[in-house]
């Protein structure tokens, strides 16, 4: 995806699978991944096939990703924040609730 010139405003640093990326403040996590050229964001629990954002409006759950260590987040509904760690996820996730570093 390419960015229209008028939309190339303030950027905030995030990482996608550990690689730094300058995200646009105000974008969702799913839009950020697509802007970074990442079209597949997870593999499915059933067959392990690749999936990417599909509806961008919170209904399809295909854009599930790991955000700051929390799995199964709907990437299209979460706005990016400075320093956010975005990771693709594979298959079924264990439903851990406590953020890393907490009991």
């Amino acid at each position: 995806m390419k960015r229209l010139p008028e939309a190339q405003a303030s950027s905030i640093p995030v990482t996608i699978d550990g690689r730094p990326f300058a995200a646009r403040a105000g974008d969702s996590v799913a839009a950020t991944m697509l802007a970074a050229g990442v079209t597949a964001c997870r593999t499915t629990p059933v067959s392990g096939s690749a999936r990417g954002p599909f509806c961008m409006m919170g209904v399809c759950f295909d854009c599930l990703v790991m955000i700051d260590g929390r799995p199964n987040q709907q990437g299209c509904l979460v706005p990016v924040r400075e320093g956010m760690r975005i990771e693709r996820q594979s298959g079924a996730r264990i439903a851990i609730d406590a953020p890393q570093g907490q009991p």
């Binding site: 995806m1 008028e6 059933v46 990417g52 509806c55 961008m56 919170g58 759950f61």
Partner: protein, 497 residues
């Protein structure tokens, strides 16, 4: 952007900061959805002096039609057109009316309580419960599933998704773009993408030839409607934007791990073209998950090929105290949704004693006129762009349930084993039991079973949905405050052993 525009954004972001602390424990009216209907309903309720709260999943108001209306980076107003910017006025009056707005919040339950309803919501990783005397659902529409072979591949998205990326982020797809399906939004998205420099390889039009014959009886109504001139303009722009292949009967998305090619059949000939992005669209359908889980009566709408809640003149559903406004109560478009939102809001104000019947009816007159005006022409659009059976009722290995990866053949085989309906289908195949809770397969499964059993979809019914209507972590539920009664119940069980 003007200075008042910036001030508005600041006031909205300030609201965002203090949600968890600023929310009261009870409201007169809770509204789910901040699109055209939700904003209009909230405005009427708040103006009537009701304590009103609006929940929405997005970070900014507007729903999908007016998506990112207060935050879009697009500065050229012609790009999205006056129909989009109409939403600005709607947001402005909503802000002035004084309702509480809760963005980034998912409502996952609405249940009856002593004083009305208990609302379960989740926002910023925390769940909470609050009370409301009246509930207005303004959950809008979602794009009708278009289950073709390969529609789960990365690189296949909905046309609406591409429009959202443009509106909200100023992102334009690169590479070879193929659009496929039917309906005004598909043509509009083609025109908008071309305007921002996207290269559209072609538009595969799946509108069956001869649809105009079915639409003809509604033509006069359409000609007199506000949609006629707009429709002509969109059609003209779409024709300029892309090569349109008419009468497409079959489409496959092909590729290993992501989309590489699109194969289609038109006029009996099979063609294949390289593609980087395939955008699917065949109309929109009501998003009924919350209304269904609440227990509102739904009916099959044969003209719109979808289930819609049964509602009265004021949007009242079969469940007392729950009203449904906007496209969530049947597809009629943004301006009709706004009018229906106002009617539901005025009725809530009447039921809660803020407006007598005469004052309500007076205030409702302009909305009734708007509703009549923007309801004209809908029957023509429904008939003209009624999606073909082949694109609604798939066969073979085509995936029906994206979450659990259930194929059309599996559903058909299970019907042959004696499975009679969608709810039983869940126990056989887990169909509709993934995170999307049937949003992307419900209609397909119903129509597949209906065809196999030679019954009408209305006789087959839809999935019976349960709370929570969206998955929430167990930790969030467990962290909810407990009543003393609930604690005692657990303690007693513990002692008995």
């Amino acid at each position: 952007m003007s200075a008042p525009g910036r001030a508005k954004r600041e006031s909205l972001s300030e609201q965002r900061e203090g949600i968890q602390t600023r929310l009261a424990s009870s409201y007169d009216v809770a509204i789910v959805g901040a699109g055209a209907a939700g904003l209009a309903a909230a405005t009427e309720c708040a103006r009537a002096g009701l304590a009103t709260v609006v929940f929405d999943e997005q970070p900014a108001p507007g729903g999908q039609i007016y998506r990112a209306i207060t935050t879009t980076p697009l500065t050229n107003r012609d790009l999205l057109g006056p129909d989009f910017w109409h939403g600005e006025g709607l947001v402005r009056e909503f802000e002035r009316a004084g309702a509480t707005w809760v963005p980034g919040a998912t409502v996952w339950a609405v249940t009856r309580s002593d004083n009305g309803f208990e609302i379960g919501l989740s926002s910023d990783g925390a769940a909470r419960l609050l009370e409301a005397r009246q509930v207005i659902l303004a959950t809008g529409a979602l794009e009708r599933p278009m289950p073709i072979p390969g529609w789960t591949l990365p690189g296949v998205m909905t046309a609406g998704a591409a429009q959202i990326l443009l509106k909200a982020s100023g992102l334009v797809p690169e590479g070879r773009i193929v659009l496929a399906g039917t309906g005004p939004l598909l043509l509009l998205v083609a025109a908008q993408l071309a305007r921002v420099g996207a290269s559209i390889a072609c538009l595969l039009d799946t509108t069956p030839s001869g649809r105009w014959r079915a639409a003809l009886p509604h033509a006069l109504d359409f000609l007199a409607s506000p949609y006629f001139a707009k429709g002509l303009a969109i059609l003209r722009d779409a024709r300029r934007a892309a090569r349109i292949v008419k009468g497409v009967e079959r489409i496959e998305a092909l590729g290993e791990g992501s989309l590489q090619r699109v194969r289609y059949v038109a006029d009996g000939r099979t063609e294949e073209l390289p593609a980087d992005l395939l955008l699917l669209h065949q109309g929109v359908v009501p998003n009924i998950n919350l209304a269904n889980a609440i227990g509102c009566t739904h009916r099959w709408d044969e003209a719109q090929l979808a289930f819609a809640p049964v509602v009265g003149d004021w949007g009242t559903s079969s469940v007392a105290g729950v009203a449904i406004a906007g496209d969530g109560a049947g597809i009629a478009g943004a301006r009709a949704a706004e009018a229906r939102g106002r009617l539901a809001g005025l009725q809530a104000a009447h039921v809660l004693g803020r407006l007598d019947a005469a004052a309500r009816d007076r205030a409702a007159a302009p909305a009734r006129a708007e509703l009549a005006r923007f309801s004209r022409g809908r029957a023509f659009v429904d008939a003209m762009y009624r999606p073909a059976d082949a694109f609604r009722i798939p066969t073979g290995d085509t995936i029906v349930c994206r979450c659990e990866e259930v194929t059309a053949q599996q559903v058909i085989d299970t019907v042959k084993l004696g499975c009679t309906g969608p709810n039983q289908m869940k126990s056989f195949l887990r169909c509709g039991m993934g995170p999307c809770q049937g949003r992307l397969c419900g209609l397909t499964v119903t129509e597949l079973i209906a065809r196999e059993r030679r019954l009408a979809p209305g006789e087959i019914g839809h999935y019976r949905l349960r709370f929570p209507i969206k998955p929430i972590p167990l930790g969030e539920l467990a962290a909810l405050p407990q009543t003393e009664e609930a604690k005692q119940a657990v303690v007693r069980i513990g002692k008995a052993h």
